[in-house]
Amino acid sequence: MEDAIITVENLRKEFRIPRRRPGFLGTLRSLLSPEYEVRTAVDGISFTIRRGELVGYIGPNGAGKSTTIKILTGIMVPTSGRVVVDGLVPYERRVENARRIGVVFGQRTQLWWDLPTIDSFELLRHIYRIPAGVYKQNLELFTDLLGLGEFLNTPVRQLSLGQRMRADLAAALLHNPRLVYLDEPTIGLDVVAKERIRRFIKEINRERGVTIILTTHDMQDVEKLCERMILIDHGRVVYDGPVEEVKRRFGRHRILVVDLEGAPEEVSVEGAEVIRRENGRVWLRFNRDEISAAQLIHRVGQRYNIVDLTLEEPEIEGIIARIYEEGM
């Protein structure tokens, strides 16, 4: 593809986990005659990303998302396969690649833990050689968009998770990267914080044309931000295509969880399918287009006594299970 910024072909990554032996002699023996357990994290993944795309790279925990990102960013060397990012093989031309990309790992901050937030930005300014004008302009813009002003002088270790994530996002974008990897940027955040971050990501992608790969296991992130998603599971691509398509096929389903009084033996409700039961708790899957949640609750209420209820959005695990069941 001509305007491809990332090409990944048949990427594989195996982790060879050394069996540790206790003590110093054990360590020495492990060094001389290592014994490994092999775990395949990425098992033959291929895809292409075009310039300016905002792609959701999604899958359940342990699917191989972070491993892929770490290879694309140059942190790790793959076991086999080909990766070209903006004309470079990232793990062979690490420094050059690093200049062009921005990275956020939601699980770990990239900032200097014990220093005021602004100090991290200053250090990055030196490391990336950001021209004074660009630095000033970006800092002002991000402070505005992300509301950084209230904690620029607070040590990073004292920031709330949401604040830290905002600071990390700003830090990853200060040097105007063409390509940004966001690995679980909304993990552990509340709804308001998630929303703010989503708005920022969208803005950066639209206004600046930055290519963004967004890793998440939150289906909402993808629905709200991406047009295309790559769904992976057990290190393989399960689906690569429009988010709309997945939503149309599987996203119409929601799940109503009800606790019923007296744990009735037989539960059946018209318009919904019982997919799980645990004593009095019942999981009902229904189609939003066919019946509204209110209608369904009403129907259940007519036949049983409801003690408690919650409504669940479709989870990635559920979608993957259905793709396996029904094909795409």
């Binding site: 060094l31 790790m76 420094v95 990239q110 100090d119 250090l123 490391i127 990336y128």
Partner: protein, 266 residues
């Protein structure tokens, strides 16, 4: 190159500022360091007082061996000692971020620790060394001073190479403390005493295996004008060369290890 150097100092400065937030920690470190050295020093003087001399070395001379080793260590500590804890950085995935920044990751690793405690060590080392040379009656000439500089830098590189090797092994084994405390630390302790009190095997090991004898034992002969007593007087002049060669080899191993870096298991 200039950019790397500039970033290096910015990073070191940041670490120093970060450490200032934990002042107590710093005092605790300095205190424990001084206590350790007092202990070693008392043991040393007790031994030599008791026996008058060790294998032909007077107390003052034995102290010089000791002081020279401490001097090289002082130059080495600020930059390299924290490499011993590299396994923590690997385990916690902290090293990842060095790899996504446009700066040599080795430099980032070196700059990843506050130099303050190390500077305290260096000051202590220099003080102890000056005192020891005065006691041992070393006669200083400009040439000897130049020689001393080479020996101090070379010695620091030899020790630095050992610590870089320890961190490189961390890439392969995910362990670093073990290698330091069971190999490097004991070897450092051994060269606090004159090498000729040990068996031939140990002397060889400390010359060609872990070449710590070049840090103090051979050079001290020159400072005491006794180089002629060595089996090969040339040995006394090799310290800078041994330093550069071992350090280059250690750095090579480190770069090799980097290729097998996989970070934390999420």
């Amino acid at each position: 190159m200039l950019h790397t150097l500039r970033c290096f100092f910015h990073l070191i400065g940041a670490q120093a500022r970060a450490q200032m937030q934990y002042r107590f920690n710093f005092f605790a470190q300095v205190f424990s360091m001084i206590a350790t050295y007092m202990g070693q020093f008392i043991a040393l003087s007790w031994l030599t007082d008791r026996f008058g001399s060790i294998r032909g070395w007077r107390l003052e001379e034995v102290i010089l061996f000791y002081a020279l080793a401490i001097l090289a260590w002082g130059f080495c500590v600020s930059l390299f000692f924290h490499l011993v804890s590299f396994e923590d950085q690997i385990r916690e995935g902290l090293f990842d971020r060095a790899l996504v920044r446009p700066l040599n990751p080795f430099i980032q690793l070196l700059a990843g620790h506050s130099p303050i405690a190390g500077t305290g060590q260096l000051a202590f080392s220099i003080g102890a060394f000056l005192w020891a040379t005065a006691r041992a009656g070393v006669v200083w000439t400009p040439l000897k001073l130049l020689y001393l500089l080479g020996v101090a830098v070379g010695g620091a590189l030899i020790l630095g190479a050992a610590l870089v090797t320890v961190s490189a092994l961390g890439f392969f084994t995910r362990r670093t403390y073990t290698f330091y405390w069971t190999v490097v630390y004991p070897a450092r302790q051994l060269v606090h005493y004159p090498l000729n009190i040990y068996s031939q095997v140990v002397q060889w090991l400390l010359t060609v295996g872990l070449p710590f004898a070049f840090i103090n034992y051979y050079p001290a002969h020159v400072l005491l004008d006794r180089a002629a007593n060595l089996p090969w007087p040339l040995l006394a002049y090799l310290t800078p060369l041994v330093g550069v060669v071992t350090f280059a080899a250690a750095y090579g191993l480190w770069c090799l290890g980097l290729r097998s870096y996989v970070g934390a298991g999420s």
